[in-house]
Symmetry: C2
Subunit: 341 residues, 2 copies
């Protein structure tokens, strides 16, 4: 189920002539430089870190957070090494969370390759993640700005809190929509927000742009997570690399089901609750849930809400004079969505 | 097996009239303040963090690192809130490593109480440790000193590297003495060293004292770890809360065995290697190993080396004019050793 063309709904959307790939073009050189720094800092005199670091560096990944940070820096007129360092830092923080996520999920694969915890063990994986977090903070210090570390630590703490809130509310059928947004705000959007606003901490003539860029990143991050949650209902298993409806099976209520619940009959609601209780589809067919969601149209509603957040992100950018960089940032939602389909 | 009285070997040791408890007396008020800050920062709006935080704060612990930091601050003439913050920070970093250690070891008990990973699960335990690390960095930022964070990040990264080196060399019978000291330096002594030297980063008339205090902390940390490793041979199981010779059983060679190996016949060496291979005492009786160690007298040699490091730590303090605070720091090795017997 592709997302509806946001232009149809939002008259201020950017013209469709510029392809989403444009998002990366303007910072292509800096992304290459980021990659070099990222790999340099994964080097170590500890054999395991050296080995695992190479494996992680070769793993690819979309480098969305570095790209956003570099574009935000460009928008503020920065053209130096400092923003490249920070771009590598946010990617390393993101990598650290993925390393620790793999322990948590006992996930055998990520991006089609065995995870660190599968290749080595939980013991090494915990320590590698700790090392990556600490190294990222150390890298971020290299330009001596306390405020940068503060923002990164706050975002990282909130990310961890978001993950813990997910666990606290696992299997709880009466999760509220407000709680859901609180959770995805912390878990995903705060690091996006930090990535976008950090360039404003490098001396600039427009320091007030920091709050604008933070709001841009936050709205973009929420949009990103909403679409990610939608994919659990709409993607084919082969595309996603995990079973469809796996969130529900793990006890996680996401927005499509949250919006659905109050509209269901007591009997239908019990069907959903049964999956949450069992943490399996042993007693309920996944198609049953998909039918409920499709009948009530909550997937389209969530798409609409994701589009609203994309739009909210774009509106923030009106603070800046028109430029190719601003245009690239306007395309970020589409770029992110195109990469996740 | 109590340690030999270091006075007998080291003529510059402090007089025995002052009891080791003196170590804590001079900073007793500040330790209480540290405890308050420590508990304040373990509070959170996330229910699990709040719950686990209370459990951790009540867990006690020797608060050795905060005491060292506060005494070093006093030695430099500081008497403010800043060093109290840093004292809470080093304790929180130490706590974070313990939380993640518990995942690693699947340890059921720590300090006689169930561990976090036993009470909750690996998933929450990883995240709680991450949260504690990040929160400690955030706390350390509150006085805006980049150099403090830099030192803490470096010590934390080296601690993680030390743990990973232990794993890399697990079960390897030809570990060198140099490698052993490199490992315990990173794993244990670098955080001691950071704790002792951080007060020199608060503006002081004697900034050159920083390097002296760093050396003091490093030597003290090595002494501490040597004695910890000795206890695996000398303590009774009931005191230690784990089986005697558990290091060897886990494949870890510590100094008493490292010194022993080259002196053994090929046949005797095979007995030790068999334990490393099997990771059990199924084919070799622990008493056999204890007999070898006792015959060769390597426990006494390690005691002597630990005493030398204690002495090396004390000698650093001669940089400072005599004072009750200096005296308390001179007693630190004895205090640490008395608490571990």
């Amino acid at each position: 189920m592709p997302l509806a063309n946001p232009n149809e709904r939002h008259p201020t959307s950017p013209p469709q002539t510029a392809p989403p790939a444009r998002f990366l073009e303007l910072v292509a050189d800096k992304l290459v430089a980021t990659e070099v720094i990222f790999r340099q800092h994964l080097a170590s005199d500890v054999p395991f870190i050296e080995e695992a670091g190479k494996y992680l560096a070769q793993g690819g990944g979309k480098r969305v957070r570095p790209a956003l940070l570099l574009l935000a820096a460009q928008l503020l007129g920065h053209d130096g090494e400092e923003e490249v360092t920070y771009a590598a830092v946010v990617e390393l923080i993101h990598t650290a969370t993925l390393i620790h996520d793999d322990i948590i999920d006992y996930a055998p694969l990520r991006r089609g390759r065995p995870t660190v915890s599968q290749l080595w063990d939980n013991h090494r994986t915990v320590l590698l993640g700790d090392w990556a977090y600490t190294t990222s903070m150390n890298m971020a210090l290299s330009h001596g700005r306390v405020e940068v570390i503060r923002r990164l630590c706050t975002a990282t703490a909130r990310m961890t809190e978001g993950e813990l809130l997910v666990l606290d509310r696992l299997g709880v059928p009466d999760l509220s929509v407000e709680e859901y947004f609180e959770i995805i705000g912390r878990k995903t959007a705060d690091l996006f927000s930090a990535a976008c606003s950090i360039p404003s901490l490098i001396p600039t003539e427009r320091p007030e742009a920091g709050a604008v860029l933070a709001r841009y990143g936050k709205a973009l991050g929420i949009c990103f997570q909403l679409v990610d949650d939608l994919l659990d209902f709409t993607a084919r298993e082969s595309d996603l690399g995990k079973p469809v409806l796996s969130d529900l099976k793990e006890g996680k209520l996401t927005l499509p089901v949250l919006l659905l619940m109050p509209r269901l009959t007591a009997k239908a609601r019990q069907r959903v609750e049964r999956v949450l209780e069992d943490r399996s589809f042993d007693r309920v067919d996944p198609q049953e849930i998909l039918d409920l969601v499709n009948t009530e149209g909550t997937l389209q509603e969530v798409e609409q809400i994701a589009g609203d957040y994309a739009q909210q992100a774009r509106q923030q950018l009106e603070f800046f004079p028109p430029s190719t960089t601003r245009e690239a940032l306007e395309y970020a939602p589409e770029y992110l969505l195109s990469r996740r389909r």
